[in-house]
Structures are given as C-alpha cells and as structure tokens.
Amino acid sequence: MSRSRVGTALRWVAVLVGLVALGVALLTAISPSVERTIPIEELVAAVGNDYILVAILGIAAIAITVGVLLERAVTGIDENTLPLVERATSETPGSDVDAVITDSPLVRVTDRQRRLHTRLRKTAVDTLVVTRGHSRRVGRERVDSGRWSEDESVGAFLSSETLEPPSVPRRLLSRLSGNHWFRQRVEATVRELDAMERRSDR
C-alpha cells in the first residue's frame, strides 16, 4: 500500500474514532442512564482534579498537533507552486556528451558510455567519408582496424564495436590520478575528429 493511501486510511480511522466518541458524548448529555455507565467522576477522582485532566487532554491535543505538523513537514501541503521563469534556460548542443563524461562512475561501465562509444564510431566513419572521400565500407574498415587515426590509443578505442574498458585496476588508477580513462579517450577521439575536419577545411 502506498504511503499516501496509508495516510488517508489513518485519517479516516481518526475521523471515525472522533465521530464515535462524539456520539457517545452526546448520548451521555441526553441520557442519564448512558452517563451512569461511564465512570467520569471516578476518572476525575483517580486523576486528582479537573485541572490535571485538562492538562492531560491539553498534552494530547498538543501531541496531535505536533504530529500533524511533522507529517506536513514530511509530505507538505498540496499547494501548486509557480515555476521559475526569470532566468534564461538554454544549453549548447553536445552538453549531453559532457554529462556522460562528467558522471562516469568509478569502475562500472554504463549504457550511456556504450552509446557514446557507438556514436563516436559512427562519427568517425562519417568524418572519413566526408573529409577523405572514402566510401562508407572503406571508412568502416579503417575504423575497425584502428588505422583511421595516427594516435594508436584513439584508433584502438573505436576499433571494437562494443566498448572495451581497461582492466579494473587500471580504471581505478586512472580515476585516482584524476584523469578518468573514459574521459581521456573521448577527449582524444574528439580532438582527432576535430583536427580531421579542420585539416580538410584548409
């Protein structure tokens, strides 16, 4: 049962108990026989006097109030809030890539990293096609063989269809040294792609 449903059920129980108590109270007011069945005077005598009884009830009321306030602090009231509109919100294309690099976990390889690796492979093939005039088949072969870049580590990074991370100790070491392996390879790959584009512009 969800938390909100539990809360609703508890509130209805409280209302029901309150209604029953109020009904009994009204009966005692109009029917002396009912009043006699409830030992009010004995209860007051047992407590001591009226003021102590009021104090007990007051404490109970405060406890209930505090409980309601605590619940509200946790769940809040259900008022709508107005959105923040004063600041311009915009990102530059490619921010999603930066987020993947920044959020790279310590050792684990994520699906987002795998998708970025696939994206980089595709971009490498496209870049070979448009900058060097290769056919797509040749471009793909060059990427698969790692010969698309003079930087061997960059070539090796994209040579496999699936992302192949280094060994766990090397991943840990790269992270501890402050230069995450995935970030390092993506940066080098993009640098190479960018350089290819610029060279072909000249």
Partner: protein
C-alpha cells in the same frame, strides 16, 4: 480543476477528539478547545471554491526588437467574474530563452469583481522567434483550502529576426513572371543571347545596331525571370537524440524566425510559398501567393507546437526517442544515415525519413522546390533532403548554427553537424551555414557567391 490543498488537514479529527472529551468530562475548558477546532475545521468549508474568469492582455514593446534590445512586457489580468478573488498568484510565461532584466513577471494580489492588476517587466531579446508560454494563475479561496490552477492560451510572439534581403533558390521555376533568373531566353533584363530574327518578334527586341552594320536581322533574348514555387520545410527538432532538450531551444527559435523572414521575402517577390514541418505532414500549407497567404504562413509558424520552448509541452520522452504528447506519430524519427549514406543501424530511421519525404513529395507539384530550415541536429533531416532531391524536387538548406567549441561535447556536436553539411553538399544540395551571430541575409549572399559557379544555384536579390 479545483484541488484540495490539505492546509487544514487534521483539524476535524482534533475537533472531534477534544469535543468528545470535553463533553464526556463535562469540562467547559476542554470544550472550549473543541470550539476553536470547529472554527478551523468549518472555515474552509464555508467558502465556495474559486471560480474565476480571468482575461489576460499582454503588450510588448517593441514587437520586433534587435538582438540584445530590451523589450518591455506589460501583462494585465482582469477579473471578469462577479466574485472576489482573495488570493491570486500569477506568473507570466516568459519565453525561456529571454532573461528578465528588470521588473518581475509575477505578483500576488486580491481582485474584486471587475478589478485588474498589471505586471510589468523587461526581457532582453535574443535571436529568433520566441513565443510566450501560458500565463499561470493560482487562485485560492480565503482559507487557502482549495485552489484552482489556470493557464491562459496566449500566442504572443517576440520576433527578433532580421529581415532577409537575399534568398537562395534553385533554378526550377514555374511559367509565371517573377524574379528568378533562368537559362531560358525571352523577356527579361539580363542579356542572354542573340538569335536569327523570326517573323512576329517585337521590333524593340531587334538588334538594330547589328542590322546597321551587317544588314542582318537578329533578335536579342534576355534571361527570363520567372516565379518559383517553394515549400519551406521547417525542422522543430522533434526527433533524434537532441529532441526535447534545452540544447535545441535556441536553434529552433532561430529556425522558425528565419523561416518567417524567408517566407516574407519570397512572397514579396511573388513566389508561391508553402510551409511543411519536419515532424508531421499535417503541418502543411500549400504554396500560394499574396499577403493574405503570408499571414496564414506566419500564423502557422507562430502557433506550431514545436515553437513551444517548454519542449516537454509539445513533445514528451519515454526514455527513448521523444514523441509528440498528443499521440501524433512523428514521421521523421530515428538516427543514422540511410543506405548509401549510412550505417545499417540507421535503417529504421531511414525508412521513416523516406516515408516522410514520399508523403511530402506527393503533395508537391513537379515545379516545386524545397527550402529546408534546420539546425541539422539529426541525420533524418539529411535523409529527407536527399530523398526529396532524388524525387526531383530541388532542395536547398538553411541551417542555423548554435553549436559551440567550449567543451568536448560541444566540439563533437560541431563535428557531427559539419559532417551533415558536407554530406548534403556532396549530394549537390546547397547549404547556407548560418552563424546566428550575423545576419542571415549576409550569410546567404556569401553562400550564393561561393556556390554561384556551380550553376545549380540561382540566387535572386530583392529590390535590385
């Protein structure tokens, strides 16, 4: 819709509890506690829920600002109902790309029947077409126990797009006089060739100088100037990995602004102009001429859901490819190049793009050319453009560039977009790579100069 705020939650239970104990114990002091509780419990229920009738008027000055210029926004909210609104909170739907530089777009007040309140603030204009989001009003009863959220349907648009003087068009034209220079001889202004005189040629076209020299009658022909039929195909970036993200907002705003200005320029030169959007073929307006039609084109651009800057309002994402929230299937979806251009993993997107191109092509007559306005964030646009070109409709592309080079991700996005531009150009499709920091007309002029030698691009300059 009226919602309970639950502000008075617990008051009833406390009242019943205290009242019951007070009566049971027959102690007035305890009963007094219950009376206070009764007040709190009954108070929100004694009030009728708010049922406002709000009328919102928004004025902006200037309506077509320059980039970086301050735009004053004045919003007046009037209570047209016959009841008091004791708790009214409003916030105007400021276009997300335009920062508020002065004043505040929100206020909290109470309004008597017929009363009104005014909000004044200033935003800084940014390039492109920017539609205001709905103004949001929260109306609560006096107790705050119930509230109603209201969103106004307002279509105010700030258009910060500079008028374009140049438009880039291909040669295919209709048999109607216009401003596109053709390679056919006939009436016109620019000299084309001379030919042997034929009976019936008008006397003012006879080359009398040559006749005086050689006694041969020849007729001068000029390059004919004809009108074109153009469909502006605007990309709201509703598919692909960037769809529905903050990264697309600026590009979409610039694209829609450019499309509006290009439509104005083309209709002004008596071309037939239509509009389609690269998300669904129902967003379609066939090519026509005239100022009334131009107003329809602008209306279509201004009200298109893709222009909604809160992209989640028009498109939602379920973790994969974003799609329209109204259940309408997006035609151009998927990723990757098509066969011959692409890797095999783009097959699904290739089919969708080809289907969209086929649907659009079926709507175009054989003399209609397509001017795609797209930031080229997605390969499907490339596939669609190539498909249309293959179907015999000359395609040109105007692409607003909002990419950057500050980070690794930015540089990768730049490389990807550059690849798409080069792919299009390799296919013979002219692309205007528009750096949005400069005027579109300037970039078009420069592109036309560079590509003019290919003889595949006919550029016409307005007001010459």
């Amino acid at each position: 819709m009226i919602t309970e705020t639950n502000r008075w939650r617990g008051a009833v239970a406390f009242t019943l509890f205290a009242g019951a104990i007070g009566v049971l114990a027959q102690r007035p002091a305890v009963l007094l506690l219950a009376i206070v509780g009764v007040g709190f419990a009954a108070y929100p229920r004694l009030l009728s829920p708010p049922n406002p009738n709000l009328v919102v008027e928004r004025a902006i000055d200037p309506e077509t600002p320059e980039r970086g210029e301050d735009v004053d926004v004045t919003v007046t909210v009037r209570n047209e109902s016959d009841e008091w609104l004791p708790d009214l909170r409003i916030v105007d739907g400021v276009p997300p790309l335009l920062p508020v530089v002065d004043g505040s777009p929100r206020c909290a007040t109470a309004l008597e029947p017929g009363g009104e309140t005014t909000v004044r603030y200033t935003v800084s204009a940014e390039r492109g077409k920017h539609r205001f989001e709905p103004l949001i009003a929260l109306v609560r009863d006096a107790s705050g126990g119930r509230e109603r959220r209201i969103e106004t349907d307002d279509r105010t648009v700030i258009d910060c797009s500079h008028p374009v003087e140049n438009t880039i068009l291909r040669e295919l034209t209709q048999w109607r006089t216009g401003t596109i220079l053709t390679d056919d001889g006939g009436d016109g202004v620019e000299f084309h060739k001379t030919r042997e005189y034929r009976p019936g040629d008008p006397a003012n076209r006879v080359d009398w100088h040559r006749f005086a020299r050689t006694r041969e009658l020849t007729t001068v022909e000029f390059r004919q100037e004809r009108a074109g039929s153009i469909v502006l195909c605007v990309d709201p970036v509703s598919s692909g990995p960037q769809a529905g993200t903050d990264a697309t907002r600026y590009a979409v705003a610039c694209g829609f602004g450019a499309a509006g200005r290009l439509a104005t320029a083309l209709v002004g030169d008596d071309h037939g102009v239509g509009i389609a959007t690269l998300d669904h073929s129902t967003h379609w307006c066939p090519p026509k001429v005239g100022s009334t039609h131009l107003s329809e084109l602008h209306e279509m651009l201004d009200t298109h859901p893709g222009l909604s800057q809160s992209t989640e309002a028009a498109y939602v994402s379920d973790g994969g490819t974003p799609h329209r929230s109204d259940g309408v299937e997006s035609i151009a979806s998927g990723d990757g190049f098509q066969a011959g251009l692409s890797d095999s993993d783009g097959a699904e997107g290739s089919v969708a793009a080809n289907r969209y191109a086929a649907e659009l092509s079926a709507r175009l007559d054989e003399n209609t050319q397509v001017l795609v306005v797209s930031p080229l964030f997605d390969d499907s646009v490339v596939r669609t453009a190539v498909s249309l070109e293959s179907a015999g409709h000359p395609v040109s592309v105007v692409s607003p560039d909002t990419t950057g080079r500050e980070t690794v991700g930015h540089r990768l996005a730049t490389v990807e977009r550059t690849n798409r531009i080069r792919t299009l150009r390799r296919m013979g499709i002219p692309v205007v790579d528009w750096d949005v920091s400069e005027e579109l007309g300037t970039t078009i002029g420069r592109t036309a100069e560079r590509t003019g030698s290919t003889a595949r691009v006919a550029t016409q300059v307005r007001n010459q």
